[in-house]
Assembly symmetry: C4
Homo-oligomer: 293 residues x 4
């Protein structure tokens, strides 16, 4: 109703500006904050495309001046953004040491470095890591909830998947080494490392064809490996499927009993399944667990 | 009981013809309507095969006159069909602007256009889009219900899949750019775009082999990418599996309570799970959820 | 207790022999019947390996006489078996027209035909179809139950899978035709059919690499197709997973209520879940649905 | 409370040393035992990398002396370990004949053998099998429970998977033989074995591209095989998914009835589902089946 006179009475202009900037840069709950995030995302995508475009043969020679100009514009904007974040962050040290803080710095540093060390430009590849901010921007749209859902499903089966991957690596080392002995350098398996690489390429069903077994025995072993790889892919899928199904079942909002606090009821339950107290009057017939738009 | 004298009394012959034609063309509940749909489908498949056959090396030279004749027959029939649809549709404008209306027009236009602009013939590829009418024809056979089932399962997990695809694209941009820096143009990675293309080819386990890493470091990164791609495929599968299982569980006909109208019971329920009224006398023991033939 | 005097009293020697032979050839419930099946299976595998071995370059030239001799031995044995089956089958016509009857005939015919028509030998490839008898032999070991289980799971989702495959074919026709227009004959896409073939090779993540897009636009379209193929594989997997899970749940033996006949109880249920009658005295605690060895 | 005077009173020094060594080598419940396992694992990984590194072209020539020295150090350590295991094992014969006993011997034998028989060195590939000890070492970290979980899921569906693999092999023999007849030696299918090999490479979606069909008919058959392989992968995945989901459901700790000992209740059950006794006072609302860290 009235203006809050107690909190932050008469702050300096600088503090107000800093606070307002912080809300724009670090948060997305104001129109300006959302606009900043969207503009930043567009700029990041553009900067990544610029770095990639530059590597196309012939482009650098023909558009040297344009590329240099654009690169400096992007770098200047990113440098400004970095400094603004350093200034407005609750803890400058905390930001500078955070994952995104390091990436933000690394995505401008190579341009300055290239003034001294030629070729440092190629380190700009690190800028593509900034694309991960896309997930932060999508936070606005509650997209992150789905990402968390996926991460949870993967994380809770992480140990099973680790055992699975370990077995896969083991099988590949054993098969790849054997393959080197069978085929030998004459057929492209010029070291055991290459044999293991071939084995991974084959078992994951990628199959480049840059190396392929030529001897009969090698092809029999390859066939066995392929059929195994083809069947074994079922294991991680089965794990994650079960995990997602389970997470999905717990995803729906479940009514809590007002009497005993028991909260694991069916979405459509009318009476508490533990003590029998009435849960809510209108059953949520239309509430479907999949309705998350 | 009696003929309806109120509605459309004494229509002109033209209106009757138009109405009858409309039922044949746009609906499939009469024998003539079904026959029209089947003939149309056969014609579409034939026209697509004709366009494809024409592109086989040597065919055009040897069968020039036959191909031109067949092409004009098909085009004439499709043009007639388009005009008939325009005339009989409840709203000519609505049809002309609808998805299928645009495709129907685009599938005849290139032939006329080729009279003026040489080479417009190659736009006939758009005609293959007409094949999508196959789903409309299968409506007769209640096939569409299954298509809807699949679409529902995909749609309700669309957001999770979007997050998944976004992550996949991100990983590919990062890995592909790094790969360009590691391998360089000498090994076929002649731009970052090509690196990203290679990364997608590899992670999706397609593995053309037109580009393959040659350096040791590149092969290690490739191996890691493959094992990741191999495991990560579990995520969308898990999502859709859970979705299909859930949709399937709700697919079975559920008894409706005669007392309160509650219709979300177990197939085998005897009493209404909301008000306790008896649902039906004979339990549906033999009714299986999979019996949908 | 006593010998059955009523059935088949004093049969002729021939009828007895025929009946005994029938039991050995067509059934597997006697030691002789089992031995016959195993010997037949070994012979079929050997005959298929013989046909395959013969095609290895150089083998035919060096081992001409051995191969011809072995081929005639196998053919003679299979001919004898075919005649014996014709003679002992309850209906010779029925057997001759059955699936296996036709295959049994076709697997010996080419050898006789090759006496008249040179090159008919290559039709022997049909002999590999006889390998399907392996499933009949495994009947002894109750393996067939599992095959039925898989067939049921696939069959009950056949319609959904049909819609899925139809969509996949449609997408491939559209993408493949477009790819032909984009890439053209110069890059290996020498007809629209080849474009569709490439599209199927790519979307199914096989990726031979005999044809690969060379233009930038073609590679973008290819990348989109791959990511789609990679995600879309989730759909049939989801369908079959749900089907198998459901079939598995119904696989366990469920106690039937002696009072009301209700037979859809939990394996461990003690009281009928419909009328409350006692089902059986000792709960089957150790009976697990997976214990099928 | 007091020292146990009855068991193994006054053992000889040798027996004590042997027993202590046995606990270190064969068990992992003491700090020394854990340290031994970790050191052994590092040594095994190093020895495998040494064998692989040796095969890189050029490495052997330049580092001959270093490699020979390292190889003898590793072999000496492994020989010592083998002898120690023989001495401390409860039954020397039992260990020598066990799976790991044979592998432990085979991983040192080639080095000694190479003194007499040149080239026996290449048998060292068997040493990579020692990597399987990694699972024994991870026992410490309760990782084995997850491996058992996966093994159980695979084992209980082993028969279904066997039928599936048998069908896959059958299909590949039939398709591969047909492909040889269609394409012939001119297009790279130089024997039926190669046709079957190609068929396995294709159906498992590996697709090396070392052999690819060139005729139209061959490409149509290949396309059908690919779409089939793409769909059929759903079957093992569905089986394992259902198995994992089921195993997971039984994974959660289930309350045991204090009255009748019945232990297969729902995690949230309040009353025993068999005799009705109260199970526990506080409902395990927060206990999630996925909490296994």
């Amino acid at each position: 109703m009235a203006s809050p006179p107690t909190s932050s009475a008469a702050p300096s202009d600088e503090a107000t500006l800093r606070e307002r900037l912080r809300r724009i840069i670090f948060e997305a709950d104001t129109p300006a904050g959302k606009a900043f995030d969207v503009v930043l995302l567009v700029l990041i995508v553009a900067s990544v495309l610029l770095v990639m475009w530059e590597t196309v043969p012939g482009v650098r020679e023909e558009n040297r001046q344009l590329i240099v100009a654009l690169e400096w514009v992007v770098t200047a904007l990113f440098t400004l953004e970095y400094l603004a974040r350093l200034w407005t962050a609750p803890s400058a040290r905390g930001y500078a040491r955070s994952f995104f803080g390091v990436i933000d710095l690394l995505s401008v540093l190579p341009v300055y470095l290239a003034l001294v060390v030629p070729g440092a430009q190629s380190l700009l590849v690190v800028r593509s890591l900034r694309l991960m901010r896309v997930f932060r921007v999508f936070k606005m749209a509650h997209f992150l909830r789905q990402a968390n859902f996926l991460l949870d499903a993967v994380r809770s089966s992480a140990r099973k998947i680790a055992v699975f991957l370990l077995s896969v690596v083991l099988i590949n080392v054993i098969v790849g080494s054997t393959m080197y002995v069978i085929e030998g350098a004459a057929n492209g398996f010029d070291s055991m490392f290459r044999g293991v690489y071939w084995s991974i390429v084959t078992m994951s069903t990628v199959g480049f064809g840059d190396i392929a077994p030529q001897t009969g025995l090698g092809q029999v072993l390859a066939a066995a490996l392929m059929i195994m790889g083809y069947s074994v892919i079922a294991v991680p899928t089965g794990i994650v499927s079960a995990e997602v199904a389970s997470a999905r079942a717990h995803d729906a909002p479940q009514p809590t009993c007002p009497a005993c606090g028991w909260d694991d009821h069916d979405v459509r339950a009318v009476h508490c399944q533990r003590c029998g107290a009435v849960l809510h009057t209108a059953p949520a017939a239309d509430r479907s667990p999949a309705a998350d738009d």
